[in-house]
Symmetry: D2
Subunit: 333 residues, 4 copies
């Protein structure tokens, strides 16, 4: 069993904590949150030791790994500390909002040859992931188009949005990474974005966007389209379509139950999609832990590491830049 400490006990932290507790490979030893009461209560739930400063975990020689689910601003600092203390690290996305800090971190940690897994959950989704497998098997021939649709059921709070870094660094970053996942060795080379607010004008006030679209071209000429929306009246819309010279594969939305209603004016009306990321990517969250255990114990590379976080951030920055330049921005990783 791998002794691990969990930093950050908010909604997603608690979910990771439960998954760690139920996974046989891990012993969730410590939990920490800046909120002491939350730390105490969650420790009880997760049968872990509450600690009031991360250093206790870092200094525990028997602790092998840390799991970072705290706010974005704390990620780099915890990574640096973790690497220095020879801990394997799982870090939620994004690494940071500043590419300078991320590059600085990269330089600092490089000599340690660290084990850092990034939390891009979608690579682990059974549907999205199977597309990659089919692609490798040659089921659709040469990859020519990637169409990713990602729409949140409803926007987060203004408070969250203000600190989020904007739609590209907070939300579309998942899809930038997914694009790289499917492209494989063929990296994205150019990118242009479009963003606007139509229904919900509050986004204008904070200079952010509810709607965004991105067009990416890879070195080989693959054309990628990402479509994002901060709201979606019919639920969490999560789809990927890969088009190739010999076929197409699509990962479609999932529903809690597969019922259909037929009536006077319509036929085969289905129920709602799974509500949001915790339900929709439930399996993915479990599967990435299995990869984390293999990474730590057997040094088998997981599907995404530090570099994936860094490169996705570079793409998000290019998207922002293109909004002003109104032209294709070159991606330099």
């Amino acid at each position: 069993m791998i002794n691990i400490a969990l930093f950050g006990l908010g909604r997603i932290g608690l979910m990771h904590g439960k998954n760690l507790m139920r996974n046989k490979n891990f012993n969730l030893k410590y939990v920490y949150d800046i909120n002491k009461n939350l730390t105490k209560n969650t420790a009880k739930k997760l049968k872990a030791i509450p600690i009031n400063k991360p250093s206790i975990a870092f200094n525990d020689k028997k602790l092998e790994a840390i799991f970072i689910a705290s706010t974005t601003a704390t990620h780099i600092k915890l990574i640096l500390e973790g690497v220095k203390n020879k801990k394997a690290i799982f870090c939620e996305k994004p690494l940071d909002l500043s590419i300078y800090k991320v590059n600085y971190c990269k330089k600092k940690i490089s000599k340690f040859n660290p084990k850092i897994q990034l939390g891009f959950n979608r690579r682990y989704d059974p549907g999205h992931n199977s597309l990659k497998k089919e692609l490798i098997k040659g089921k659709i021939g040469k990859l020519e188009k990637i169409i990713i649709t990602s729409r949140d059921p409803a926007p987060p709070s203004i408070k969250y949005l203000k600190q989020s870094g904007g739609i590209f660094r907070d939300m579309m970053i998942h899809d930038f990474d997914l694009t790289r996942f499917y492209l494989g060795k063929d990296e994205p080379s150019n990118l242009i974005a479009s963003a606007s607010n139509i229904s919900d004008k509050k986004f204008n006030k904070i200079k952010d966007f509810e709607l965004a679209t991105c067009l990416i071209k890879s070195k080989n000429g693959v054309q990628c389209v990402i479509t994002n929306s901060r709201h979606c009246s019919f639920g969490y819309d999560q789809r990927v379509e890969l088009f190739g010279s010999k076929g197409m594969i699509v990962s479609e939305n999932k529903r809690e139950k597969e019922t259909s209603l037929y009536s006077n004016n319509f036929t085969s009306s289905k129920s709602s999609f799974m509500h949001f990321f915790i339900e929709r990517y439930k399996e993915a969250y479990k599967l990435q832990l299995i990869d984390l255990a293999k990474f730590i114990k057997k040094n088998i590379k997981p599907l995404c590491e530090f570099e994936e976080g860094r490169k996705a951030l570079i793409m998000a920055n290019a998207a922002n830049k293109s909004l002003k330049s109104k032209k294709f921005e070159k991606l330099i990783f």
Copy 2:
């Protein structure tokens, strides 16, 4: 071009007339209906000669074929006359409501070796028909179950119903024939039916049923289920499911347009099914004419002949009998 006369110019007669007019193999020479005005008007539309008695057609040596779309009660008489006059015959379903008359007719015409094609349109539906082809190709291994669903959008008039012969001889007769189509050499051997009225009590008054279900067993043990309803709030429901040892093939409903609506409470809500038989089996009606032409010109057997009409009627009668006996009735063809 085959010179043909059309008898019966009601809704379905007119449709057949238009199809005959547009089919290059046929010259629709005469049209006849008991209603003289209708005959005259329709003749104009179809660019045919109106006749006021069928004998004109029968006596025309250059006329090769007759197309019977008149009321059921007239079918046998016209067939007998047609055969005697060496005309090829297309006859709409059912042959007659009386198996005695049908058997009598069979005996009378047998020495003439007549060409009689029956109007069981579903055998020609591109969807239902392709199931037969896949079955023959072995796509689902050995056939084990046949599930047929057939629901009309709304019941016909009481006047029609009273003369219809009841749900088994008027409506389910299509599905009895379809069962035989899929079974091929393995004929149905036993049959039991259930029938009831739940929502629309008018059927009780005329001793008919709005809802019926039939369970048929073939000689080889294939289990067939037919589900009928005289009403269907969501349209004309027409499905066939064939289950076999190695797979399943389904012929599903068709829609005029393939649109989906997503909203607050539902996802992927589709539009209505094609309204009724004229729209739903449009292709089938054209395809059976192609077979008719081949039958007449090249003596290639069509998908259904006189015997199909006779056997389906025997099944309908057995269904009615089983309602009283409440037991499986043996099918003796």
Copy 3:
């Protein structure tokens, strides 16, 4: 927390044990199996006390409930013992293969007013269950037809089959109960079955059937069709279709992932269904435990009790009887 003992630690027993362990309402105190090693090992996994005879559990005054997942032959005896000792009981289906033993048990326990929940998992499936809710809300008007399809991916071992009681008492019993679930106060009144073997002749040797179909009529005239198969090349096929005067609702199959492949000869080819009952009815197994806790703590009736087990067995027996009589058998509950 409800102290509970689990009897029977086979595949399904272990699954129930894990669910009990993770459910906050229960404290899985004891585990017992006739196989002592299995008891010991499973006890460790489930953090429970291994016992070498059920009486230890029955005599524990602090134990509130027993969970019976042992072989069918042991059910009635454990129920009688449990009721006598004032334990609440969860019993897997079927109650027993003998209606005499079940009726005897019913009489014996009646004075105790016992709490016995039956393990008809499908009533708890989010899809199948939501159909019942829609039906009650009047979404499809008056219920007119119930079509249930249930096909296992592959037959169980001959050893299992020999003791199973046959396809009606072992497999279709689920669907008999489901029929009653949807019919509600309108009980089934007549039933006729058909059964055969086409592909797999081993069933003939043990006088059992791989394929079965049942036609049931309710007091109100609802026509119900159940279609069963012991094999299904494309997976665990589990569907329910309710047709009513104003619409139709269908509970369709579920897949682990919702991917589609498009290629030369086909479009929108989907992945396999969830493999078998443990995966397909995963949610149902959890939800029935929630009902069990409410039953025990708040005396809220669960979706199925002892009588549901008894009545479903009566239907299975009638099905067997009808195979010989070849007629509709009356259902007398």
Copy 4:
């Protein structure tokens, strides 16, 4: 009946000719093609008078309308001639490959207040068209995204491609128009395209592209994505998705038959899409004739006129320009 002359008797011309012949509003009086034999043979098929120069039609005072289905290069000349001779005009897309010629034509004909209907068939497709209706009804709230997918089953001949004007003016021009159709009064304002060749290198030689994607922004901020491919292994892929503040509507692909195959490794595998435009847009081609008749007889505006052809060409030109500038091009209509 409207006397009409058909110019151009190639594949699409013949199809229009048959539709005109079957439409009660039209009398197909003349047919003309540069190929005299073709003119003669087609005239026979369509029961029209073959003419060996268009002027015969233009000079016939009783001829009300001309239908232009000849090669693109002839369109403007025929329009000018037609307008001068006071004929109503139906012209296939595109108007011309040169915006200068189109603008010149616009100026020349403006004083005549001519009736010119453009052949953007997709506006008339029952599926694509119903999306517009739902949008107007407010079914999806405010329009926010338009996603159009259009993929041809296989590229046309090199000969055709060389004269086609390239993927944007020949193929995507349909989708540019469709975008304008849905946007309505909110016109597209900026556009950027991406194009490449991955599988089929012959396109490089003729400086054209097999794959293209376009990102368009409207004045109101609606984000539109068009995805084109000159090949598609699984058939003619034609989809439109409209996303709005309150829902989404999708027009999906159509199939000749709705059958599904289930087997060992897959479930619900559907048959191929309708082959190509003549089959897929069969209804649309008929419906645009109905509009043409209303335009001519009752002066009711059709869904697309000369300006639609001109504006779509401006968009295609902007797409080509953006390939070089690599930036958003402003659309000035």
